[in-house]
Every structure is written in C-alpha cells, then in structure tokens.
Amino acid sequence: MLDVPRWPLASLANAAMTDGTAAGQDGAALLQAWARVLTFGGGYNTNVVLMGTILLGISAGAVGSFAMLKGRALVADAISHASLVGVALAFLLHAALGQEERSMPLLMLGAALSGACAVASIEWIARNTRLSPETAVATISSASFGAGIVALSATRRVSGADRAGLDELIFGSTASMTSADAALMAILATTALGATLALYKVLTAVAFNERFARSRGLPVQLLDAVLAALVGAVAMAGLQAVGMLLVAALLVAPAATARLWTTRVAPMVVVAAAAGAGAAWVGASISAVTPSAPAGPLIILSAAATFLVSLLVAPERGVLSGWLRHRRLAAAARRAAAEAASGATSPAPSSTAPISTGPSSTAPISTAPISTGAPHTGPGRT
C-alpha cells in the first residue's frame, strides 16, 4: 500500500522540533522550529512542499486578479466544490479497474472534468434562464458538492483501496503530501502562471471592455473559457494543499488585497502574486510545525489577515483614510451650511473649479457659484 515513499511533513517538523531541545513543546522552541522552516531549513520534503505552495500562491494571485476584474471570482468556488464528484468518481473507477494505489493525477483529471461541467452549466443557466449568475453559482456549487459527498460515501464501500488523502482533499493538508504531489502542484501552478503572463495583454483588454475587445477582433468567448481553465488549473493545483472548500479564497483574497492598494492592472497582478505567495509561505510553514493545524485554513487565514490590514490602512480605499476624508468633508459642509444660515456669501472652501457667476440680473433666476468642498481625488464613479 505504501509503495510511494512518503516523508510526512508534520513528523519531519516534529523531529526537527524535538531533537536538540528537551522541552520541544514550549513556545520558544516552536518559534525556533517555525523560523527554521520559514528559511527553508526544514528538510528536503518540507522545502519542496513549501516551495510548491508558494508557487501556488503566486499563480493564484495572478490568475485571481483577472478572474476578479472579469467579475468571475466565484467561478473558482463552483469549480472547487464540483471537483469532489470528479475526485470520488475517478477514485471509484480506479478501484473498479483493480488498482489499489492512489493516483493523484487521475484524481485531478476527474476533478478537472467535473469542474468544467459545473462551469459549463453555470454559464448555460446564466445565459439561458432568468436566474442571475450569482444564483447559478450558488445552486450548482452546493448541489454538486452534495453529489460529491454521496460519491465519497460510496467510496467507503470499496474495500482494499487506499482511501488515504481522499477526505483530506476537502479541507486540504500538506502533511500527507509527497514530494511528487508537490511537484505536480508546482508544475500546474507554474503552467497557469506562465499562460496568464503570456496572455496578459488580451486578458486585460477583455477584462476592461468586453465590447471593445470584441470590436478589435479578440475571441472573447474563447478567452473567457481560457480564463476559466486557468482558474480551474489553479484550483486543481491547490486541491491537496488548501482543500476544495477553501481554494477559492486563495484566488479571491490576494486579488482583493491588491485592488485596495492599486488601480492599475500590472501592479495589481504583482501585488496579488506577492500577497498569495506570502500567505502560502506563512500558512504552510506554521502548519509544518504544528501538526494538528491543517495548512489550508492557515493559508487562507493568512491571506485574509493581509486583506484585513490592507482594508484598514490602504491609502485610497482604506477604511481609515475614507473615514478621515468623510470627517473633513462633513466639517466643510457644516461650515458652508452655517455660513449660509448667517447670511454671509460663502466662499468655496477649496474650490477646484471656480466658475464665474454670470451677472444674474434676470429677476426670478437665482444663480449660485459652483463649488466643491474638497478636491476631487480618486476614481470618482458613484
């Protein structure tokens, strides 16, 4: 059953933790062990898995940026939820053919097929019925996950086959990853990243103005499908490390973080990739030294923490700066109101566009100068 050599990450880390220090469980030692893993000193397998996860984070950030710009952030959610059916069916098929060993590429192929079916049915429902795309995503992803759970419960009836890791695909676990698994993940993630960078220009054009892109002769529908395939590739790559219920967040969180910091595409992709890599690095390494904590949730929580901090302090779209701007503006507005009430002709607080008032001699018409309280900064769409 265990023909494939395995060096579970967690036990390696445990060993690293306990050797040397007598009190391996105490906090300082844990931090020390974490620092060692963070700096790639955690052993061969640990490093391979960590590197693979970081690559996953990078490509999730880049692909997620375009998915978000296109308003398709939740397609990842549907693909990953639907992948359980494919995984379980592929497993059943594999077992029916008499194979006992788990084959990760086959499971991923099954996942990809069922994910593609889910995306196709969502697109079809959104285009051909009155249901909104959001409803289509919510229904298809939950129903197909239900079907996946049914298929998964059927795998329990198959005796003899190696079910190890099947349940772990739901919530993700790096602890049981072999270096071959990590290599597969890295290859998929790198391919998706490479394709995204190669298609950077056309994807940007389609994300910003579909009609314009179409008028320029770009195959918009094909590019939509390509983007969905890239999202699917990242979701498949992240299946094992992050888990199918959480991998969608890896595509959404870094992209949303990047969007808080910049309004241009190129920096957004870079920042998102960096945020994804950082979250993967921190999450996977913490998981390596605390065996009971699975990597998937840790990676997602790291990504969410980055987003939260950005949401608070980002200069243009941050909560703090928005609140300060609002307060300044409200104070200026109150001043203007007070001046108007006292009868004084109120000069504009800081007029960007002072327009000379025409002499309003025609009796019933009252004209007032145009004034704005604050300089119009930022993207002014309301």
Binding site: R130, G322, L324, R325, H326, R328, L329, A330, A333, R334, A336, A337, A340, A341, S346, T352, A353, I355, G358, T362, P364, I365, S366, T367, A368, P369, I370, S371, T372, G373, A374, H376, T377, G378, G380, R381, T382
Partner: protein, 258 residues
Amino acid sequence: MILRSREALAPLALRSLSVGYRGVPALWDVSWEAREGALTAIVGPNGAGKSTLLNAAIGALRPLAGETFFWGQSFADARSRVAYVPQRESVDWDFPVTALEVVEMGAARRFDWLLPAWARRGEAHRRHRMEAHSCLDELGLGAFADRPIGQLSGGQQQRVFLARALAQQADLLLLDEPFAGVDAETEDALFQRLRRLCSEGTTVVAVHHDLDTARSRFDDALLLAGSVVATGPAREALSEDNVRRAFAPTSPAAHQLA
C-alpha cells in the same frame, strides 16, 4: 430652529444640503424650494447629484450637513403626504408580482401591510383594492392588472410606478427619471396626467434628462451640477448659457466623470 413662513409653506425645502459618498462630495450646499402646485424638473449632467438629492431628501441617504423640510416638517412627520418613485432600473422587473399588486403597495395603509389578500376580508380591504384598480385604469392599464410586471413594456412599467404613486394620494410626488425608456406617446400621456395633478394642487418634482422637454413641459427647473447652477422658471433657468455652465468640462460633475 424657527422657520420662516415661506419654509413652512413650501412642500419641499432644502437648506444647505450637502451629501458625500466615501468622502467625495456628490451634492454641495444646496438650498432650494419647490413651488407648491408646480411641475418642477431637476436637470443636470450625469453625476450632478440629481438622484442623490431626492434620496437625501427622503432620508435614504444621510447628508453631511443641512436639512430638508416638507411643509416645514421632517420627512418622518410628512411621510403620508409624499410619494417617492425610484428609478426604474432600481428594481428587478422580473420580480413575480402583478401590476395590481405593485399599485396596491401604494394604496396600502397601516394594517394592509399584514396578512395576504386571501386572509383578509372586510370593507377596508375591498376599498384598498378598488383604489389600486382605479389608479391602474386611470393610466390605461386596467387590462394589465393581473399581468406579471415582467411581461409589460418599459413604458407600461413606468406607468405602473406612477399609478402606485397616484394610489398614495400624496400632495408631493418625487419622481426619479419617470420618463426613462418611455415612448413619445406614453410620455405625452404621463405629462398630461402630471399636469392635471398639478392643477389640483399637487406638487411634482421629477428628475429629468431631456433638456428640450424640460424647457417646454415643466413649469420650474432646478439645474444641478454638484451644487445649484440655476433655479426658476424652466425656460429661464435652462437658458443656453446656464446649461453650458452646468455641462462644462470644468463643472464638478464633469470633473468627476473624467
């Protein structure tokens, strides 16, 4: 605050009203009064704050500063005398209700908001339904009463909204783009109906986007571009000169769109 007598009379009076979205001003220091019994257009470029003005007036948006009075009262106190019709795009026209059910929302008073129709008997309920029916008839939609609203044309949908406002029997109508997506014939019918309301003493304030009809069909106009550009009789307030200033690229609204 002691109100001057004119404020007490005006159906709608704004006092130094300023509204901002996320720290960006949408409406700045607007003081204005609607004339009783007049048909008034609110005109301005996109992003001039026209809808914002209506939303702030009825308390759906919290202003940065300033106050709104309806006959000298707050909106909460004058609520029963004011009918508000939002933009047509603000609702989902695929929603499973019939035209009559929409208009009944306008005719509903207090306890009409409870219990479905089949559970209610009695005189009050029958009257409420009759009122809704007659408002639909008045706008020529009697035959469509039981039609789901999704099956109506754009113009018919606007008429359903106006019928709902009529059913409220209000003294002040606040309409947000009531002529958007309406064909010329329907527009004419709607104007005639609004004109009759005004002659009966109702005040109508409508956000409007077409300058020509704003000049020819409305009594008064409020020209907005972030703040007030001009007010007064429609033809004079919407003079070429004023309009050019409001739509000029240097006006705050134009600046925001850039």
